[in-house]
Every structure is written in structure tokens, then in C-alpha cells.
Amino acid sequence: MSDTSSGWFEAPERAAEGEVMYVDVGGYEGPLDLLLELARRQKVDLSGISVLALAEQYLAFIETVREKRIEIAADYLVMAAWLAYLKSRLMVPQAPGDEEPSGEMMAALLQFRLKRLEAMRGAASALMHRPRLGLAVYQRGAPEPITIRKRSLWEASLYDLLKAYATQRERSVPADYQLRERTVWSLQEAREILQRLIGDSLDWVPMQTYLARYLPTPEQRVTAMASTFASSLELVRQGHVELRQTLAFGPLFVRRRAGDGGGPEDAN
């Protein structure tokens, strides 16, 4: 990925006014999809894109959407927070002793994820273009009744059975309840979203600061902070994460504990 390093510090290309702005959020399958689309507008080859420009475009897009007071899914906001952080890391040179992940590393990570998503899409399309059974290749049209193994007359799988039962029980529940309206999402949720978006190769990240900027209202910020703090303590207790705070009331750093998610012995 060294061939991309030159691109990171280039001045972001001005996004053509009106191009990015009118993108419909509804048409995207999540923030990575949106980023991939933005990246494709930049260059065909993902290795050559400017991650800084990409972050700028994404943030500009989110700003516009928020100005228009359009509801936007939490995933998009978390990605915005992460990209804002990435941007700041890319623009300020890394000081010695700085334990936060370098901008270059984060940019490479993002590029990797975009490439992988694009590769999987390519793979999906290649699969669908295979000579598929029933479309280009055929099985015997008139199979002759033959039973190699003794089979019972009636067929039903346990899965079918349980599904039938669950469906009926669910059907019998009065359907007048409604989906809970979520006005608040905690930072713990945010971190889960982030893990989904970025993976878990992150190091110390002061996410709160960045996230707070994208949380819609102050009340939400307060509840979010409180619930996160509580839940992260719990995660520390369970040994999943480590917390670090370098000064009182300073930003809280969180990272996944080394080895967590590996073998079973590591998890304990």
C-alpha cells in the first residue's frame, strides 16, 4: 500500500458542487458502500485514491444531510466521527511517543476494507455469472425414481418443525406492540458499530471526542457518555478491553485487550 502514501497529503479535491450533495442515503448499503461509491468517483483503482479527499467528501456529505435535518442512520455518523479523527491524524504529524494509531495506518486500513468489499462484490458477480445449474447447465430432466437409501415417506427437517412452531406462537401474540423508537444510542453501541465498520485492529482511540460532535443533541451526549462509561468498565472487568486516561477529565482511550477474540484461553 506504499504506493498510496503520496495521495494522503494531497489537498482534497473540491468535490464538484452538487455532485456529492444530492446523493440519496437510502440508496446505500451502509457507510462503506457510500465510501466505495465516493472512492470510485475519484479513481477507478482503489490503490490510487486519496483517503484524505475521501474523508473530506464523506464529511461534507454528512454535513449537508444534517443541515437538511434528514434522519441518518447511526452507522453513518459513527463512520463520520472515525473519518474526522482519521483526518486529524493525517494532517498533524505524529509526535514521538504518540501511542495512537498513525494516520497512515488508519488510511491503509480503510483502503483495505474498501478493497475487500469491492473484491467480494466482484466475487459475487463472478459467481452469478458461472454456468449455473438450471440456467446454463442442466441436470437430468426426467430423473427415474430410484432410492439409494431407504427414505421415510414423509420429509420434514427439525428446522422446518421449529420454524412452524415459532411462527405460530408469534402469530398468536397480539400484534399491537410497536417497534421501540430509539432516540438514544449509547457509545457502547457506537463502538459495536465501529467494530463492524472498521474491524477490531484499532489501537487507542479517543472516540468520545469525535463521536460527541456527531451526536445530535446534548441530552443524548450525556446519557451516551454515562452508559458507555459504565459498560466499558464492565468490559474491562471481563478482560475484553483496556481503558486509559492520561490526565483527569482528559479523553478516555479504549482499546481491545491484546489476544481477546483469539483462542479460548486468551478470552479468560
Binding site: 442442466y138 430410484i146 420429509e155 420434514a156 427439525l158 422446518d160 418443525l161 420454524k163 406462537r169 401474540v173
Partner: protein, 225 residues
């Protein structure tokens, strides 16, 4: 033979081989025997379908599969002398209807259950045929009669049921939490919802034995461990 004719023959042989391949694939994939006219549309201009069919039949003569004529149509069929291969166990596997599957599921979880109890959960009347079918399949049996007015028959599952669905015992049926965990039940169900513990042991206090003229499964299954 002049050179031109040899070339023509080679080319011709290639066209024939290509047409034979197409013929082979068409006859193999078709659900019904095919008429030469139907085949002709797939072959090159001016192909002699009848001659190709004769050639193909000749090639497959003596093989495990033969090209046979059925009226004016043609099809691949297993060689007659190998029919014994196919005549083993002519059991046909059929998929259980939704109604039967639902009824079976409720009996499994709620047993011992009467027909009225099954209908209460399903919210629709259960045809007599459905229960008969489940008993015929050997998965459901009459257990006894409930000691309530009308003395309705109680139904339960059999050992064959456990066998078919790969369960060691009824306790292996997943409970509420497990169904939720598997994503089969929504996690937003009311907290009051419960799933009964199925019971297939000997007759309960509120059950009488079946009447002598009740039909059903051989009763010896009931008392075995």
C-alpha cells in the same frame, strides 16, 4: 477420392459430432420425450434429425442408458436389464404440508394435547385428515383420553418422531431462549409468553387409557423407557 471430398467429409463429421452433442444434452435435460421437430430447432440448418437420432441410439445401444422411442418421440431411459437397480424401495419422499407440520410442532411442544388445544394455538380448525396423516407417518400417536367433558383423545409424539428429527428425547426440543437465540422467535415478544415442557411419559392424572375400540398406535410403545 479428390481432396475436396475428403475435406468435405471431415467438416461434415465435425458437424455431425456437434449435433450429436446437442442432441445428447437436449434429450438428457428434457423432462418429456422429444419429437424430432422439437429437436430440429436447436440443430444447424439442414441437419437430418432422424439420422442423428439413429446414430445416437446406436452409440448408446448396450450401454447403461439407452435412447428409446416412445411413440413419435425420443428419450433416454435406463437399460431394461438394469431395471432392478431402480426398483429397489420405491418409496416416494413427500414434503409435509404446512398444516401437518404446524400440527406436529404443537403436539410436540404441548403434548399431551387434545385436538381442541392444537386448534387453539393454531387459530384454525385442524382437519381430521391432518392428524391421521401424522399417525400414518408414525410420528403421532393417541395417548389416552382427557378426563374432561367429552373425554377428548390426547395426542403425543412417538419414538419414530424423535428418531426422524434426530432428538434423543423431548428435552432436546429448544426452549424459549434457544428459539430466540436462533432467531426463530422475535426478542420483542411479551415477557408473559411461555413454552410448555413437553411430556411423553406414562398417562397423567388427568388422562384415562384409550377405550378398547380406539384406534391408534400399538400401545406397547407407551410404557417403555
Amino acid at each position: 477420392m479428390p481432396e475436396g471430398e475428403i475435406l468435405y467429409d471431415i467438416e461434415h463429421a465435425e458437424v455431425v459430432e456437434r449435433n450429436l452433442r446437442i442432441l445428447e444434452a437436449l434429450l438428457f435435460a428434457s423432462a418429456e420425450p422429444l419429437a424430432p421437430a422439437e429437436i430440429g430447432a436447436y440443430l444447424g440448418e439442414g441437419a437430418d434429425v432422424e439420422a442423428l437420432l439413429a446414430l445416437l441410439a446406436e452409440r448408446y445401444a448396450g450401454r447403461g442408458v439407452n435412447l428409446v422411442r416412445r411413440g413419435d418421440k425420443y428419450a433416454f431411459r435406463t437399460a431394461e436389464d438394469l431395471g432392478f437397480l431402480l426398483r429397489r424401495e420405491e418409496t416416494e419422499s413427500r414434503t409435509l404440508s404446512r398444516a401437518a407440520l404446524e400440527t406436529l410442532a404443537i403436539i410436540a411442544y404441548h403434548q399431551p394435547a387434545t385436538r381442541a388445544e392444537v386448534e387453539e394455538v393454531r387459530g384454525v380448525a385442524t382437519g381430521k385428515g391432518t392428524l391421521d396423516l401424522l399417525m400414518e407417518a408414525g410420528w403421532v400417536r393417541m395417548r389416552g383420553r382427557r378426563r374432561t367433558p367429552g373425554r377428548p383423545v390426547t395426542y403425543g409424539t412417538t419414538e419414530a418422531f424423535l428418531d426422524h428429527f434426530g432428538l434423543e428425547s423431548l428435552a432436546d426440543l429448544p426452549g424459549l431462549e434457544e428459539l430466540k437465540g436462533a432467531g426463530l422467535l422475535s426478542s420483542r415478544l411479551p415477557a408473559t409468553m411461555q413454552i410448555p415442557l413437553p411430556f411423553d411419559g406414562p398417562l397423567r392424572d388427568d388422562e384415562d387409557p384409550l377405550d378398547p375400540d380406539d384406534l391408534g398406535e400399538a400401545p406397547e410403545h407407551e410404557d417403555e423407557p
